[in-house]
Each structure stands twice: as C-alpha cells, then as structure tokens.
Symmetry: C2
Subunit: 254 residues, 2 copies
C-alpha cells in the first residue's frame, strides 16, 4: 500500500509549537502537506472569507513535509488545500494540536475543530487534537504516543460519513494520563463578563472575558474524562437536526 | 402578562432591509432591543472576537425599538447584548431576516444562525430567519405573516433547552407559498472553485466561489421543502455528539 497523504492544519498559525509537533508525528505515517493560517485564528469558528481575497505561499521549513501558509481562516485553509494545493484528495485531515482545550461547547467556537468539520463535510476522515494548556510553550511531547495511536486507528477503521473526531488531551505528564475514553460533549458554557475600559478619547470599549461553567457531571462527558486524567474522544457530527424534537414541532405546525 | 422582551440581531448589519423588516414585525409583539453588527458579517459562523476589542453605540433610528450597533461578529452581538446592554434576560432572540438561504449545510457557515445558536447556548428560545434571495433589495414583505406566526407559536410553545429554529423562506410571492414544513437539514455541500487572479505586483490571489450541490432528495429535507414552495423549519441543536457512532468507537478504543 502506498503511503497515505495527510493534510495538516490548525488555528494557532503555521508556526505554533502545537502544529509543528503534530507534523513531526504524521511525518512518520505518510506524505504530509501543511496548509495552515499565517496568523492566529483562535475562536474563528466556521468562518469563511467571502468579502475579501485569499492567498497562500510555500514556506521552506525543516522536515520532509510541504508547508503552505494561507491568509484565511482554518476553514479557508481546508477549502484552498483541497481545491488549489493538494495533488489529490488526502486520506486523512488532522488539525491542531491546539493550544487550549476544545472540549464541550468549545467545539463550536474552535477554528481547529471547524477545520476538521469542514474536512468531514468534504467526505474526508478528520481529527482535531487539543491540549488543555493555552501556553505557547505548552508541553506537547506527553501525548505523542496517544496521538499517533489515534491517527493510525482512524486510518485502519474508516469512520462513517458525517462524523469527525474531537480529541482533547489533559495537561498531564505521559505517565499520569490514564488512557483514552470515548465521550459525549459535556453540557457546559462560558459565562460572559466583558471587561469595560475607556479609550484615550473617552469612548468605552470591551474585552471578551468570562469563566467556564461545566453543568455536566455525567461519567461519559468529555469534561469528566479530562478531569479524571483521560484523553477524551467525542465523535462530532455536522447534521445539526434535533430529530428528537421533530414530532413535537410537527404537532405545533400540523 | 407583560410584553415580552425581544432581542433582534443578524449578520448582514444593522441597516440591512432584512433586519429592519424583522424589527417592524416584532415591534407589534413586544419590547424590542436590537444589537446588530455595524458591518456585514456574512459567513462568520460562530466566530468570536478574542484578540481585539469590541464597542457599541446607540443609534437613533425610526420606530419604538432601541438600536445598538456593535463592532463584532453576530455571536459577539448576542454576548454583549446579554452582558452589557439588555436590562434583563430577553424572552426570545430572533436573528435575520438573512439576505440569502441558510438551509442545509449553510447553517454552519451562517452568522445569522450562529447568533441564534449562541442564544440557545445561553438557554434562550431563538429563531434564525432567512430568505432565499441574496439581493439587498429582496422583497421581505411576502413572508411577514408567516414570520409573525412562527414567533408567536415559539413564545406560546416553549422549546426544550438545547434547540433553536432555522427558518428558511422560499423566494416566492405570498400567495405562492404553500405553507410551513418541519424538516431535517438536507445533506448538501458547496463544491469549491477558487477564482484565481494576479495582482498588479505579480502575486496570485483568490476569491472563494463555488456551486451548491444538494445530494438529498428526501421528502423531509429542507431543500426539498423549499424547492416545493414551503417555508422550512429545522430544529437545530448544538450538542454535536454523534451518539449513534459511540458504540463502534468504543469497540475500537476498548
């Protein structure tokens, strides 16, 4: 069998330590092409660039992979890679390793996960990886063996269409990580608290801040698994239909 | 019963004809506060503003509602409204009327729908309305009675937590609209085709273009309902867990 073609992207930008670690892992598995944002794109969700233009350029970075720096969002990167950069459809798309958790509700704000979802919409197997440590100098070594294992298992066990994986890694040493748990998305949210300031011209402005509120203590929730020292894997879908509410809604609009 | 407090937002910007029509409809139902972007935010998905600041200002526009123009994305608008602008939690949040369809997979790219989803995350009833006509001068009068009906029904019949409504309106005259259908999100996607150009300095750049590919002919898909002249309502959830794949995934990671 020929080597798999692997597309790598992220939302922290092409020079972030998290993506460089992910590239080093997949370089041992297949032929690697990186198409990642040229600037930080955290919290960009599933944004695409409609009203302005996009560009990309090849960089010369260490390693056997090819690196392309793209001006857009993470989802733009996946679209450009598939339409303009890759020689053929990739066998798998991996996104991350994100600097910071994308567990529970964070999946909908995350550029890292939205890139994986966009690959899923294109019918490709895709995984987003995130480490529960926001720092630029976070230690990504600890989870290397687990990440390799999850990518190999995903290549060997094809996922159904319409599903991608959201993998979150606790900020623990390798020997402290208890294993891998398949989980559901925890019921959690951010409680907003905007930080109000006044600019030199007397006008008020705001920084988005807040605290994370986990309302879900169930055993199989990703937040619970992470708190207990496990790596969480949530299968994520992009058919957002709430099928379980259709009957009741039909009775209202009969 | 006191009048309901209604928050209105959108992604086309606070001056767009679509939101002004929606405001005129809800002004007859309750007390209305508008917090909407000060610039077009189409395709911004669930993006939030983390690395720069936000501001808002009150405008003096015709009508009994209060209008606040906000510098952020649609999701930022909902967050700022709830934390900094509204006197109390609103009874319902309505987003739109979007200039252009947000049916099928468009729900994940849409700023209009992401604003509704953000309200849902906050535990509020929320509806996104979209008209299948991208034009600024689209005719929003045709669906006025249907929109009023859907908002009143949603106030009277509380939705379960975790669900918001995605309402799409075909571009037809009022007498041509066949009614309202509860639907699932059609299986559809955009086929990318970037338009490549060369700038005056010899560097290539790209415009995102493509065509819509509906792969779903099922009777209860939103695209089918719209094609048959119905208004589609899809109940949308933001627990993205693919529960139906958890067993198989567990067998891989047992």
């Amino acid at each position: 069998m020929s080597k798999p073609l692997i597309l790598v992207t992220n939302d922290d930008g092409i020079t972030a330590p998290g993506i460089r670690k992910l590239i080093s892992i997949v370089n041992e598995i297949g032929d690697v092409i990186v198409v990642a944002p040229n600037s930080p794109q955290s919290g960009k969700g599933h944004a695409i660039t409609i009203n302005s233009t996009l560009s990309f350029e090849e960089l010369n970075l260490d390693g056997p992979q090819k690196d392309f720096s793209c001006s857009g969002t993470p989802v733009d990167c996946v679209k450009m890679a598939l339409d303009k950069i890759l020689p053929r459809r990739p066998d798998i798309v991996v996104s991350g390793i994100n600097h910071g958790s994308n567990s529970s509700i964070n999946v909908i704000y995350s550029g890292t996960m939205s890139a994986a979802v966009e690959a899923g919409v294109e019918g490709l197997p895709a995984i987003g990886f995130s480490l529960s440590d926001l720092k630029w100098e976070a230690d990504f070594d600890q989870a290397e063996d687990f990440i390799r294992d999850i990518i190999l298992k995903t290549i060997e066990n094809p996922m159904p269409k319409g599903v991608v994986l959201n993998v979150n890694i606790p900020n623990l040493k390798k020997e402290e990580i208890k294993g891998i748990k398949v989980c559901k998305q925890a019921n959690a949210k951010w409680e907003e608290s905007f930080d109000e300031r006044t600019n030199p011209h007397g006008k008020k402005y705001y920084w988005l801040t807040g605290y994370f509120n986990n309302m879900d203590e169930s055993e199989d929730a990703d937040e619970t698994a992470l708190a207990n020292g496990f790596i969480s894997i949530v299968p994520v879908k992009f058919d957002l239909t709430a099928y379980e509410y259709m009957n009741e809604l039909n009775s209202i609009y009969h």
